[in-house]
């Protein structure tokens, strides 16, 4: 029996402490980073191919949406390669799974930049995935193309935002509710995360300016459905003229089922949603959704030669049942915009691409889009749609021409009351 037990951990602990103590310390805040710090991009453009990274969630809860974005990115790559590539180089795709986890997005983005040496990365969906990747792209001075409409108030030099910012989606939607539907009071329903909270802050500022009454505001935790009957009860007793819906994902199923079942309908109290696109409609239920409104910048039903080609190519690749939606189109467009920037710069280097970005435009399926070099967003046309009984969305109102992106809402006097992220705005 060992009765005497000398501590064995003293030695390894001292060793460890010594190791930490002797390991060199890098630069402190305020100092210039050491020369080796800013590692130049390891991008190799000597061959006849160039690598790009596609980073979407192929597993986990977000895979439902992000798989479709991946498909349209791959479609764009195929088209570009078939047409001769970018600067005569074929695109070589490195795919990664973000697994619906922000930490995985950050990890895989680092890998794509540092180990795979890609020229640019395309992907991300949730705000949290973008926020997680942002420092990675800024620290490594790399490029991310982010294809989803989002809450705005951000403009990183290392990200190109090809989805709508708030003044291209939320504000036109409010104009539509106010002017076309004559709504004087609104109920705000949303999932509990940053996009609905920020969107509703903007809506409330807009409402105050334009004399619209906000009669209620409620949030359901993401992925949950338990509070939906309570929310619908409140909506019903509020007597609002319309509902502004920023619910995300499966909560919409419960919301619209309950909404229809308690006897609320599009002609008496319309719901305008900003997160329901074509691919979500069947899951939510066509019957419950028919007649309700959405706000996006693209619908499958948009009439243009470019869109006909896009929809036909997509159906040819993924079957006749496949539908196209706004984020898919924005992802598809993002690859072509990157191609345009590279060709304008005649270089794949990040700095050259950033310098050449301003004014690059593309005849996208949604119509002509143009990159704004200052805030890295793109000018897009806002479209209000109405869900039809076939499950597609018809355009009922259009801004007519592309709206210049204004992520910080600098041109809207009433938006001054909204506090903004000082880093970018």
């Amino acid at each position: 029996m060992p009765t005497l037990r000398p501590p064995t951990f003293a030695l390894p602990l001292t060793l460890a402490a010594l190791m930490i103590g002797t390991s060199a310390c890098g630069s402190r805040v305020g100092e210039e980073t050491a020369a080796s710090g800013e590692s130049a991009s390891c991008l190799d453009t000597s061959g006849d191919t160039v690598k790009i990274g596609l980073l979407n969630s192929m597993s986990g809860t977000m895979s439902i949406s992000e798989t479709t974005v991946r498909r349209s990115l791959e479609l764009a790559v195929e088209e570009i390669n078939a047409a001769g590539g970018v600067l005569d180089k074929q695109l070589e795709v490195v795919t990664e799974d973000g697994a619906s986890e922000p930490t995985v997005f950050a990890e895989r983005a680092t890998k794509l930049i540092q180990s795979d040496c890609v020229a640019a990365v395309f992907g991300g969906w949730t705000s949290s995935s973008r926020k997680a990747m942002l420092p990675v792209f800024e620290d490594n001075d790399a490029l991310l193309f982010y294809p989803v409409q989002y809450e705005g108030l951000e403009a990183s030099d290392n990200i190109f935002y090809t989805g709508a910012t708030t003044n291209q989606q939320i504000i036109p939607a409010l104009d539509f509710l106010k002017d076309e539907l004559g709504a004087r009071s609104l109920f705000l329903v949303g999932s509990d995360y940053v996009f609905p909270r920020t969107a509703n802050a903007i809506i409330k500022a807009y409402a105050e300016e334009h004399g619209i009454e906000i009669v209620g505001e409620d949030y359901e935790p993401l992925g949950s459905v338990e509070g939906i009957p309570t929310i619908v009860n409140r909506v019903q007793s509020s007597g609002a003229d319309a509902v502004f819906n920023t619910l995300n994902g499966d909560s919409n199923v419960s919301f619209f089922t309950q909404y229809a079942n308690v006897g609320l309908a599009a002609d008496t109290m319309p719901v305008l949603s900003v997160s329901i696109a074509e691919e979500e409609v069947p899951g939510v239920g066509v019957e419950e959704l028919a007649g309700q409104y959405t706000a996006w910048n693209y619908y499958q039903t948009v009439e243009s030669a470019e869109n006909e080609k896009f929809v036909a190519a997509f159906k040819a690749a993924y079957g006749d049942d496949a539908v196209t939606s706004d984020p898919m189109e924005a992802a598809y467009t993002s690859l072509y915009l990157w191609k345009g920037m590279v060709e304008a710069a005649e270089s794949f280097a990040v700095g050259d691409v950033q310098d050449a970005a301003d004014g690059v435009s593309f005849d996208a399926p949604e119509g002509s889009v143009t990159v704004n070099g200052d805030n890295h967003h793109i000018a897009k046309t806002a479209l209000i749609g109405q869900i039809n009984p076939a499950g597609l969305i018809d355009t009922v109102w259009s801004s007519g021409e592309p709206i210049e992106p204004d992520p910080c809402l600098e041109d809207y006097a009433w938006a001054e009351s909204i506090e903004k992220d000082q880093t970018y705005c």
Binding site: T230, I231, Q258, V262, G263, V284, G285
Partner: protein, 294 residues
């Protein structure tokens, strides 16, 4: 006035959902001490059964009536399969069962994804379960009324079986004292298997009911599983009446919090209340008298 009534109804309908899910757990957890984390996936299997049936039968009403018993069978058979292959080996290691069934639930979720795809599928509700009936000016949605009725019926049938049939006597005997029950000639293993079949079958049926109010997708089972376990623990293990009281209590409490606070803080408050309650009364609302010191 109608706000109060509406909220009460919201709470009762949530309670019914929790009760339907927890009822199966009352049997399996109560009798065998087994924490089956894959219970939520039996629910999902039931929901997908309803989806498949609807592909075969065009009428939503007919397919619902077929799906209810069929999903009971599907859930039950999955449960028995799990019991025979894994759980029966682990009866003396309840904590390990928890982890093993968690692994099973991961596999089942991914399987559903590969079979049916990641996006939610649409299960149409029959005409007579859409819309509402008005009581004192408050709309009671028929879909949720159906779930309340299903929950009440299930509780009644299960209680009757437990109380009046020979099988029920055997189950109760095993819950109260496994050793003594075996000594008096009860085949406890067989009883376990039957309980597992019924418990898992109830989960399958609950899945069909859920298609009326929520989306049918691979991860739907996870939404409720933590709440359902809390219902069982708070109600007192192995107690049907405890589960009924706990489920409706939690449902109504959630509705009250949601109305007075906000929906997202309601959930946090609810979990804190349950945790605090269990600190004060770890044996739950009701408990079986056993010779265990706990």
């Amino acid at each position: 006035m109608d706000a109060v009534l509406g909220q009460l109804y919201a709470g009762i309908s949530l309670g019914s959902v929790l009760l339907l899910i927890a009822l199966g757990l009352v049997l399996t957890f109560g009798q065998m001490g087994v924490i089956n984390m894959a219970h939520g996936e039996f629910l999902m299997a039931g929901a997908y059964t309803a989806f498949v049936v609807q592909q075969v039968f065009d009428s939503a009403g007919l397919s619902l009536l077929i799906a209810l018993p069929l999903s009971f069978l599907v859930g039950g058979l999955l449960g028995v399969l799990l019991e025979v292959t894994l759980i029966s080996r682990l009866y003396s290691r309840p904590l390990d069962t928890l982890l093993v069934t968690w692994g099973v639930s991961l596999v089942l979720q991914q399987l559903a994804r590969d079979l049916f795809g990641a996006p939610a599928v649409e299960v149409r509700a029959p005409r007579w379960l859409q819309g509402n009936v008005e009581v004192f000016g408050t709309p009671f949605t028929t879909g949720r009324l159906f779930i309340v009725a299903l929950a009440v019926t299930s509780v009644a049938v299960l209680s009757a079986v437990l109380r009046f049939t020979a099988l029920g006597r055997r189950i109760r005997a095993v819950v109260q004292s496994r050793g003594l029950a075996e000594t008096s000639g009860i085949d406890s293993r067989r009883t376990d298997r039957i309980s597992f079949f019924i418990g898992s079958g109830l989960a399958g049926m609950a899945g069909v009911a859920l298609t009326l109010i929520a989306s049918t997708q691979p991860y739907m089972g996870q939404t409720y599983i933590v709440d359902a376990f809390l219902v069982v623990v708070a109600g007192g293990v192995g107690q049907v009446r405890g589960a009924v009281l706990a489920a409706f209590g939690l449902g109504v409490l959630q509705a009250v919090f949601a109305y007075s606070q906000s929906v997202s803080t309601a959930k946090v408050l609810l979990l804190l209340v349950v945790i605090a309650f269990l600190q004060l009364r770890p044996q739950g609302l009701f408990s079986v008298r056993t010779r265990s010191l706990v």
